[in-house]
Point group: C2
Chain length 410, copies 2
């Protein structure tokens, strides 16, 4: 049997070569990061910047190859959050649930409020079409949602997933995602010119929460019985394949139900952590995730355009000015969230720093704003920079607060 | 961080749901096949037929989702052949090299000759544009290349990869691929109206053989030293990620050099089987491969159109008639190849049956023929049927000859 290099439109040989480059660069720079005392994920992000469109152009960004990388990256983040769900102790999560909720709400409300106020009341470059209120809502929205992927990976690299702080952060980041969905639906409506509807906001919120609760409750009851049957099958790696299929299926269901893919992935992990075959599943999922999660982090890095940092260009100077303000708001707004739950004993600075990274959500909001004309290219660039800086400061910050990396597992 | 359901054009939720269905169906029908005493891969092919466009339509066949499935399937076959390369004992392969060569050559020449003769000298339905010679070359070509993926998977399912027969078959199938490349270049030239050039044939052959020899010789010398450095890195799963990246990279290189992707994948496996970290790599690659190889077999099954089997339709009857002739030629032409190397002691019927399955190569040839107008839809359908039947008869045939399946490894 013979596989053609260019069967069906995509140049598969070229695509696989890019994939090989992504994997090797991710590991080499991840190693470099660890050697200089930083978490590996920081190196993977830098690898992405280097391989991205503004430097080497190795990571496909457009057309079908771009879509392919995007889907593989989504598979990577899905597997990462599935692993996180597997490692989640539900009772521990409930114990810190009130703290997570408080951290999430403060961490969304404060940056949104500060961002809105900055845009509405402080002088800054022109904001494109639409009213000042509309663009201020957009700027505020881009500042809200924590990238649980980055933080979870750092905590995992540092071997700190079982700490009180990690539980609060992961819980808050998942709640953040639910709030992010609500904000997204509001923002999309605003971009389309619609009025903000309280009913719509409540409905989005109810769907996301309802999905998580029903999935975990029903799943924890039914799925362990199902997997007791699966384990009696004889075909190779049947547990692993069913577990991954379950994560894929529940993620899709979450999205179809109007919630987020990754909420389904976390739920799938939490549900499977209650099965008798939990150890085998976790042991076998790890190598699969280890291939795909670097693709996610490299592609996040690759979306950064280094030309935005050139201080000799006048448009870049405006962008840098706005970006500076957004960065300060983004960091302060999440740091204070660490102090949102005074009734729970925890290292509040660790929680605050853990909530700082913004990932693709901010980029998605900014992209909707740009395409609808509400945000100018400069503001879009500033949001990109904010996402980049918050993503890059959190890993060394957490590392400095939490100490040395654990010994390698692979 | 929040992953959108439909970011960037592809409906990721829908795609992941299809993927989940593919994985679950593959394992359920694989299990069913094993329970009735057949190899699991047969069940995965049937799962593909059921999920394919002619029945349930779950497997995406067109557009970007179709490309995605195609790339994931290629990744699956690449990982499968990489695993096969890892399990290959090079000395043992060389010991049976002359037998493999003889089996490959007879198994290509006899079906090609019989196919050509049938088409040129026996009455049959109309053959579209072009001369009878051109279409006869096409029909002959579709009958030549063995699908090493199917046979290797069956041998692996049966726990017979370490037998004399398996070595001869795998070696012959790889050589077959090299010959397939030569035939493909000839056939493509014929479709474009070019004369067959001896120089072109020799060049294609030399590139493919040269690549394999140089890659393995240089690789066996350099790569073990490289991996002794890689193993000293501290980041997680660094060996696995480098091994997969090496397989992807060498496969691309093979394709760019004018050879086939999967020749690169086999070569990568053979090279890494000489490293000191061989055990860890094999242990960690398996779960990754177990997720992706079923996608390949399901997508092969999904390309089968069951409507071609409807005997009440007149066009289907013509197709069935031609298909019957091609099937007889395809099976007999490869069975005799088992007797091509009388100087090597082996079970010749096992080797013959092992060479019978035709996979996507036949489909690729037929597709080129159809698109260039050399083959009619009926003949294309007949080739599809031939590929399907040869693919489906080999697993139970080998199983009957080789005995019981091994206990499950997962």
């Amino acid at each position: 049997m013979l596989a053609l290099a260019a069967a069906g439109g995509v140049d598969i040989a070229r695509f696989f070569l890019a994939l090989a480059a992504i994997l090797i660069a991710a590991k080499l720079l991840g190693e470099l990061a660890e050697r200089i005392g930083q978490p590996a994920v920081l190196g993977e992000l830098v690898a992405g910047v280097l391989l991205g469109g503004s430097v080497l152009g190795v990571v496909p960004g457009t057309g079908v190859p771009g879509e392919l990388i995007h889907v593989l990256a989504e598979l990577g983040v899905l597997l990462l959050l599935f692993e996180i769900g597997l490692e989640t102790d539900l009772r521990e999560m409930f114990r810190v649930g009130s703290a997570s909720l408080a951290v999430a709400i403060v961490g969304v409300v404060v940056p949104f409020g500060l961002g809105y106020a900055y845009w509405a009341y402080v002088p800054h470059p022109a904001v494109g079409e639409g009213s000042l209120v509309t663009s201020a809502i957009f700027v505020g929205a881009t500042l809200t949602a924590t990238s649980v992927g980055i933080t979870a990976r750092v905590l995992s690299d540092l071997g700190k997933m079982a700490t009180q702080e990690a539980r609060v952060i992961i819980g808050a980041a998942v709640i953040d995602d639910v709030l992010g969905l609500v904000i997204l639906s509001v923002v999309s409506g605003v971009a389309a010119g619609a009025a903000v509807s309280i009913l719509g906001v409540v409905r989005t919120l109810a769907v996301a929460i309802g999905f998580l609760v029903v999935a975990v409750l029903v799943g924890r009851f039914l799925v362990p019985r199902l997997f007791d049957l699966v384990v009696r099958m004889r075909v190779r790696y049947v547990l692993l394949v069913f577990a991954v299929a379950f994560a894929l299926g529940l993620s899709s269901l979450a999205a179809v139900a109007g919630s987020a893919l990754i909420i389904g992935a976390v739920a799938a992990g939490i549900i499977l952590s209650g099965t008798n075959q939990f150890d085998t599943i976790e042991h076998e999922v790890r190598p699969v995730a280890s291939i795909f999660t670097p693709i996610f982090f490299v592609s996040v890095g690759a979306s950064v355009d280094l030309r935005l940092l050139d201080p000799t260009s006048p448009s870049a100077r405006g962008t840098l000015l706005v970006a500076g303000a957004l960065i300060v708001i983004a960091i302060l707004g999440k740091l204070v969230a660490g102090w949102a739950a005074p009734w729970v004993p925890m290292r509040r600075l660790v929680v605050g720093v853990g909530m700082v990274p913004r990932g693709e959500v901010g980029l998605i909001f900014a992209d909707i704003g740009r395409r609808s004309g509400v945000l100018t290219e400069e503001v879009f660039g500033a949001v990109l920079l904010m996402v980049m800086v918050t993503t890059f400061v959190a890993p060394p910050g957490l590392k400095a607060l939490l100490g040395t990396a654990r010994p390698p597992a692979g």
